[in-house]
């Protein structure tokens, strides 16, 4: 059976075992095939088969969700029973909107590559060996992770919604350090197809940065002009997306809340030219065309030329406020700008920093959308448009919204970065007044 057939079977079981109730089944068959390396050797690897079946049952305003990973008919029947029993015991939820009926769903192209789904441990090991050889060749030590796999998932409801989606993903990240521990570099990429990952190219960037970042000079903590590599931009964007919620804005507990009530929709808040889209059908960011409830995801412009245009809105909140529901995006694209390259951004800086990557980012103050975090794996001082040399790492306390508001230029090309949250494509950005708060002795 495939996931769609299992989902249909579970919906039939809901109708049979809980007559009069409504319900939803979500089924996913996936593979996570992974190889990890460190200290210039392969350390661990695994071929993992991932099955998930989730059942939501609702009776009136009482609802509950149960999931497990067993496909035997008796196990599916037990799961429906568990969800139905939990729902009958749950207190009423006035926010329950019912399960969705049929949705007009399109299929994104290019989201799935069969070879990547089934990528063998030999291919992964070969890629790891290339990286290790490149590191050995320059006398540095590599560590990294090659992950390939994907999932086919299906969703069905008692109200007649049927949806399915297949995706694959391959990512390779490479860290390189000199044996003395005075220099460190990093590179990483994520693609739908493993064949598009270039292990040698990634290794070259990480190894080069490790070599060039050795024995960093001292730079002081203060507000700096910075060129942020795409990995930094994607890390900050995850917090921006978390905050991009209509309900919290309306409730007055968000950066996007307007003083005195309401939201900041329609406000010009960011640099002219900053545009953030969420489009699972864009060949640059193929992703699931529906959310966890099965709600169709339409291409959405969240920020248009610096103006806040849309906020994520749940079905309940849309109904309450008389607006349209807007699902959380499964893919986002911060559109590219005019700069031809990162080098061109660097050339625009009289005195500033070029930053490879961020680490341990956490919320600091949601009111101002401020987060904290650290730089890692290569910070370089820029003087008169050229890189002068490596400098120490920093802790920063800064707002992703301020980074987008004070952006001066960004690259035309956007990169898909291995990042938390949805599929993300972002440019490298030149921004100013970026608050480096303290020095970190870490390399």
């Amino acid at each position: 059976m495939n996931p769609a057939e299992v989902a249909a079977q579970v919906v039939a079981l809901i109708k049979q075992q809980a007559p009069g109730a409504e319900g939803r089944a979500t089924v996913s068959f996936g593979r996570n095939n992974e190889t990890r390396f460190a200290a210039n050797e392969i350390t661990t690897a695994g071929d993992v088969e991932v099955t998930r079946i989730a059942v939501t049952v609702a009776r009136g305003k009482r609802h509950a969700t149960a999931s497990h990973n067993r496909l035997e008919p008796a196990a599916l029947s037990d799961l429906v029973k568990r969800a139905a029993t939990m729902a009958s015991l749950a207190p009423e939820d006035p926010e329950w909107m019912g399960v969705l009926g049929p949705q007009a769903l399109r299929t994104p192209t290019g989201a799935f590559d069969a070879a990547t789904f089934a990528l063998s441990s030999d291919v992964r090991a070969e890629a790891a060996k290339k990286v290790i050889a490149a590191a050995d060749g320059k006398g540095v030590v590599a560590a990294g992770f090659y992950s390939a796999g994907g999932a086919t998932s299906a969703l069905a409801t008692t109200a007649g919604l049927v949806a399915s989606h297949s995706s694959s993903e391959a990512s390779l990240t490479v860290s390189a350090r000199n044996p003395e521990g005075t220099g460190s570099g990093w590179a990483g990429a994520e693609r739908v197809a493993a064949s598009e990952l270039d292990a040698s190219a990634l290794a070259a960037v990480a190894v080069d940065k490790a070599v060039r970042s050795q024995k960093p000079g001292a730079a002081e903590p203060k507000p700096w002009k910075v060129v942020l590599d795409p990995a930094c931009v994607a890390e900050m964007l995850a917090f921006f997306l978390d905050a991009l919620d209509a309900r919290r804005a309306d409730e007055g507990r968000s950066f996007f809340s307007k003083k005195g009530g309401g939201t900041r929709l329609g406000e010009k808040m960011f640099a002219p030219g900053i545009t953030l889209k969420g489009d699972p059908f864009d060949p640059a960011t193929p992703a699931s065309p529906y959310d966890g409830e099965g709600l169709a995801i339409e291409p959405t412009t969240f920020v248009e030329n610096g103006t806040l245009r849309s906020l994520v809105t749940s079905r309940f909140w849309a109904n309450k406020t008389g607006t349209q529901p807007r699902p959380r995006p499964t893919a986002v694209h911060l559109l590219g700008g005019e700069a031809q390259s990162v080098e061109q951004l660097i050339a625009m800086v009289d005195r500033g920093l070029y930053v490879t990557r961020f680490w341990y980012t956490r919320w600091l103050d949601p009111q101002t959308m401020t987060i904290t975090g650290l730089t890692r794996d290569g910070v370089f001082l820029i003087e008169k448009g050229v890189i002068k040399g490596p400098v120490n790492n920093f802790r920063f306390n800064e707002s992703p919204a301020a980074v987008l508001a004070k952006a001066k230029a960004w690259t035309q090309e956007t990169a898909r970065v291995p990042a938390r949250g949805p599929v993300m494509r972002v440019p490298a950005i030149l921004t100013e007044d970026f608050h480096m708060a303290s020095v970190s002795a870490a390399v």
């Binding site: 999931s67 999932a151 980012t361 949805p422």
Partner: protein, 536 residues
Amino acid sequence: MLSRRAFVIQSSLAALGAGCGATAARSISPPPPGVAPPAPEAARPVPEATLAAVLGRALDEAKRAGATYADARVHQRRHETIRTREDHVTDATSIETYGLALRVLAFGAWGFASSPRVSEVDAADVARRAIAIARANAGAQKRKIDLAPTPVVTEKWQTAMSVDPFTVALADRAALLLALWPEAKKVRGIAFLDGGTHASDEWKLLATSEGSLIEQRIVRVGVDYQVTAKNDKTGEFVTRAHELPPMQAGWEYIAGASLLADARKIAEDAVEKLAAAPVVPGKKDLILAPSNLWLTIHESVGHPTELDRALGYEAGYAGTSFATVDKLGKLKYASDLVSIVADKTTPGGLASCAYDDEGVRTQEWPLVQKGLFVGYQTTREQAGWIGEKESRGTAYAQDHEAFPFQRMPNVSLRPGEKPLKLSDLVSATDDGILISGNGSWSIDQQRYNFQFGGQMFYEVKKGKVTRALKDVAYQANSLEFWKSCDMVGGKESWQLHGSLSDGKGEPPQSNAVSHGCPPARFRGVNIINTGRRGAA
């Protein structure tokens, strides 16, 4: 890879949540018969008699194909959560995973595979896949893998508890949270309350090719809630989360906690914080309540003393450590008042159990003794790396889909010899700040530079708490911070806190871990104002 992406979304923005509370006494050695109720029969998908055959088949197939060592594990995870907003439930969720994991050491390299299906046929398939990986990786293996010896045992162990949380009716668990809002909203300025209850059950049967067979069941419970206070005129808002730590225990721990009694105070705290004066940055003496200090121990002592980090095996992700192997027994880590121990035996500790996931009996050992760095966390593979003969027993895999590797045990600050209480630390302080609860937290990849917030911040002047403050965080270098410790609370003031989710590794795995500590004082720590991006 939807499942992993979903995991990342859930965990990355807020992993490590927690919160003062009493610690319940619980037995860690095999509990006396009849104290802990047996798991409900229906909860185990495959009868145990069949499992022995499945595990045996996986190990036999692995050995036949060339494995010199293998461990097979049937692992079941169950997690039930209820989420509430103010006066209603928004989610009731049960998540379960079950399956077979096999780790093999063959051709000098590791291989791993898992399956959600648990049968002899699947066991053979899993063995074939795990061996194929070891073969593919063997060419890149430079170092010889030697496992420190461990005794062969057959044992059963489980959390001692009086009320299995999975037997408590959903409506009763929800009622506990829903009772909080009527209390909280009596306080003017309180706008929201977000709450959740957690019950988790980890059951595993481990068989090693050396002949050990170990069955364990670990039950953990937690409740979290936070209130939001709002000033509609200024648009300002703040949150205040309560500080009840999650615990390895049955529901009796939650039922016996003072959640409802504290609700009014938590709400009043939020309103007080909203109107509080922003902190003036600078160097101050810092008094940390156990509800705040535990997380600082976790980040600045727990992670740096993981041996795999110190030797570069986590360099690609979690990072390395300033506590390198050449410093063992030499590095002055903290002031003489500070002794920190690791253990997987503390009653109620989230990481406590009888055996780790490669069959090593758990223990307690020192990491920092009277300020000196003296110990690392190790597994069987790692013990020999620092010339030790036995593993400290810290191997852990979060579920059947995960490879076991070195994970943090409970790491705790020993109480001081003097019977000091939090109030004694305050009385002795001329100009300082008292912090309780956890707010924002972040530390660099070698564990030098950290910055921590909190829930409540109070100004201390001339030995008295004078007023609440807001927008406070402390930022320090781990070693300078621990060397500045000049007062440590006594035994009576020691509390066990912890987190249900600490991330490490690639693919990322989640580990539950506790940290015990008394309150302590640190001199001249850098305080920043987070409302102004940490600017002075």
